[in-house]
Symmetry: C2
Subunit: 531 residues, 2 copies
């Protein structure tokens, strides 16, 4: 992974000509930023760890797995939000004091015990793809902070092919997991945009949702068990697929982003590798009509594996990328559908019937294929836009069907008004629905803005206003990106003061020294108030 951008540098793509043509029209002229700093030239503070600390951690994970090199510390300085990437362009950067790489559950436990004794904060680190500040090297009230890189906890620990139940080590990446499972004829089927780098433990800790969620569910519905190391004891949860044995404590850890403990193993439901696939894209008059059609699909359970509705703006830009800019004005909104597995012709027919009845027309498989081919490449495009001086970021929310249009309108207005007011900047806001439920759906926004000044400062203000607007309009503060540090100040508005007290009580019980990911999920001032 590029240290200051996305993915494999060899895969980086230039902006398509059509997009480069569009951008000045949409956003006005932008200013190309200064060249990115080289990793070797970044200045960081010396590690705050003492020789004694390093000795204790070395005994916990093996001395070869305590990494205080300049490069390792910088590579663990944060996640992959746009603010993260903008911070990676600075000459001076805040980084963890060391990177520790445990290879077993017991080594994780040993690190947590040692860190609590040494008064050192620990930031669990999987694929490094958080976009909500969950990986910021915040030491909180502690002496120092280490990044706990979990990628050595990798592999398929167990597969029960009869039950379709697999145990994966938490540091296994998406492609590694699918590779290991496919050797036995199985698939997990969880494909978020971060798939190529993110880890199974990270999917669990962040309540991820993937592009095939219509078919296989959110990641939290795939999890059948977890193993967790905490500073004060271990947990193994999930004896049975259906249970009434008290509250489901797995759910305490899904979405906890490492503040209660470190997930070291995840048991997941898997299914046989699908042998068949149908792809089909659709044009539909407008976003509202498309949303209504998706609601019928969800409530009738017609069974698409993937269904996505792009609004008029996103449809236009996608078409521009595909070199079909001439068609833009004619197209309205667009839908991509994918059907995999059993009974796909019937599922496609039932879904298609609803889309056609709503005024949709099938445009064949070409556009859906293009989406499928490029579905993990969005972040590369962001790198190119940032290099061109265009601010680019995404955000997401969800709500009930009845509130979806109002929420979309509210968020769009606040973004446009925010960039105009804070930076006199034009912005372009695209939206899609990519996760549907019987009672509601997600909204995913992609934002381009022609911000010529301090992009980080402007975005902080716009994003803050967006968070307020989402909550005011009845949306959730995050559908699948999670809370991290970026959303923490808004969490109390979503779950109430009593909800935050519950989280704080669990944290005090499991992590009484407060070393685990301080400031994530529970905002720092609240953690301080309750500790």
């Amino acid at each position: 992974m590029r240290w200051n951008g996305w993915g494999d540098p060899a895969q980086a793509t230039d902006l398509p000509l059509a997009v480069r043509t569009l951008l000045p029209l949409l956003l006005g002229r932008t200013r190309r930023p200064a060249d990115a700093v080289e990793l070797a030239d970044v200045t960081v503070a010396p590690s705050a760890l003492t020789a004694h600390d390093l000795d204790v951690f070395g005994r916990a994970v093996g001395f070869a797995q305590v990494d205080v090199t300049h490069e390792a510390r910088i590579r663990h300085a944060g996640g992959r939000s746009t603010p993260d990437l903008l911070r990676r362009r600075a000459a001076e950067q805040r980084v963890p004091d060391a990177v520790l790489r445990p290879g077993t559950h017991d080594e994780v436990t040993a690190v947590l015990t040692a860190a609590a004794e040494l008064d050192v904060a620990v930031i669990p680190f999987g694929g490094g793809t958080s976009v909500v500040g969950a990986l910021d090297p915040d030491r909180g009230a502690h002496r120092a902070v280490v990044s706990l890189d979990l990628r050595r906890l990798s592999g398929l620990i167990n597969l029960d092919p009869v039950s379709g139940d697999a145990v994966l080590a938490a540091g296994t990446t998406g492609p590694e997991a699918e590779g290991l499972l496919s050797a036995h004829g199985f698939e997990l089927g969880h494909y978020p945009q971060s798939f190529r780098y993110a880890t199974i433990g990270g999917f669990a800790a962040a309540r991820s949702s993937g592009q095939n969620s219509a078919g296989y569910g959110r990641f939290d519905t795939m999890v059948t068990g977890i193993r967790v190391a905490t500073p004060t004891g271990d947990l193994e949860l999930g004896r049975s697929p259906g249970s009434a044995a008290g509250p489901d404590l797995i759910r305490v850890f899904l979405g906890s982003e490492g503040i209660f403990g470190v997930i070291t193993e995840v048991r997941v439901r898997v299914h046989p590798l699908p042998q068949q696939r149908i792809l089909e894209s659709w044009s539909i008059p407008d976003f509202a009509t498309g949303a209504e059609a998706l609601r019928h699909v969800a409530q009738s359970a017609t069974g698409p594996t993937v269904i996505r509705l792009s609004d008029e703006a996103e449809t236009a830009v996608s078409l521009a990328q595909l070199g079909k800019i001439g068609k833009v004005l004619a197209k309205g909104a667009s839908i991509v559908t994918v059907y995999e597995g059993d009974d796909i012709a019937h599922r496609r027919a039932r879904t298609a019937e609803i889309l056609r009845a709503a005024g949709g027309s099938s445009s064949g498989e070409t556009d859906a294929e293009a989406w499928l081919d490029g579905r993990f490449d969005g972040p590369y495009l962001r790198d190119s836009l940032l290099d061109a001086g265009v601010f680019c970021e995404t955000l997401e929310t969800a709500t009930v069907w009845a509130g979806l249009s109002g929420l979309r309108d509210a968020v769009t207005s606040v973004i446009k008004d925010g960039f105009a007011a804070e930076a006199g900047a034009k912005s372009f806001v695209m939206c899609h629905i990519s996760h549907i439920y019987p009672t509601g759906a997600s909204l995913y926004f992609t934002i381009l803005a022609g911000v010529r000044g301090d992009q980080l400062a402007v975005w902080e203000k716009v994003k803050s206003a967006v968070n307020d607007a989402i909550l005011a309009a009845g949306g959730t503060i995050s559908h699948h990106h999670a809370i991290g540090r970026d959303h923490a100040p808004w969490l109390a508005q979503e779950i109430g003061e009593t909800g935050v007290r519950i989280l704080s009580a669990i944290k005090r019980e499991l992590d009484p020294r407060g070393i685990l990911n301080p400031g994530a999920v529970i905002a720092m001032d609240r953690a301080g108030r309750t500790d």
Copy 2:
């Protein structure tokens, strides 16, 4: 509801002749117990509440809603397990010191605040159908104990027909909820055996699962939001159907059986009333073959609304009840399927294909209709058996498909050996699968035993051995009956000591005086240890 048995006395049924013929063959001669005591003749201790207590509670809920009558106290003395019913036959009974009937969320809050100040324990009480001791009037370390009867919190508070999302007051019973929803063309579709009496809040608090779970899911998957009153603050949870806004705190309350707070409103996913229904029953050679077929149905998602597999013993007795005892030996195991809603012919065809391939043969709709007609009547039969001196009880568990046969064998052996060893008694054990998941299924046991001595004491020993056996064989201590007091001593084996610490920490935070349902879920000695 009968105070010392199930349901409407007018609906009570005698044992069918065929069953009366079978029983001595299966269990030997039993001894008809002494006639049941009359309610008016039961002796109870005087209420421990003082005039001051009654005044404070009267101000909280209205003086007309503070009930210290003999009848009300006895009617709130417990739930509807067989041990509960055997206790209702005693001359002296332990009962709560009063029954309080709040009519609003705020009145619930007022009761909890008052009870904490007065040092009085509170047992939340919905339909009174717990079969795991969740309603025992245990005062714990407190001065007195009141039953908090929630049935006045009744009604449809809101219906969002676009999103298919309804808010019901927690004390609404199953039939009341379905009646209110059907007036608007909607259905919840949650039909546990307790349906006629149990409440929406009880379904949530106990993580109920109903007979249509294959189609509409467990109750916990239907819940989209809750409102909770606790002694130290309120909660309103569930903004969005999909969210990554930290851990899903709704799940902390589902299965909490009133130990953290009182659920006062439940938001649930609802669906349009199904317009079509297909019923079909099947014969299948044996239970193992049937279980394998159900696994394929679950893993292929063919879409039955109901699918149940009765083993050979349950099939034989069901046929005996239907007066077809002559056919018994030829029948093996049996399956009931129901399809409701859209696309049912296709769903039936796909399911039938699997059942036929497994050696099943359709036996038409008659047996399925008989099951549907009698599906809430099992508890009436138990009353008749108890009156005839036959011990009768049910228990349930679940595990992954690969472990299901081993778990069934282990439980069956321990029951048979237990009754033989503890009471020299013959027993007859029936089992069915009624809830299927991609990775596993439930097992529901119905037990008859010819216990001539102290049925309560014998059962306590047998049940204890069964709980040990379930956990040793990888099952969950409860699939949908919950924990209550009866299963509490086994919970730590299921969720670990660290899991119990999490529950205790949440309880300390929300209910620092420990007034809520003391001894339920978290066993009394453990609560003491952590308080």
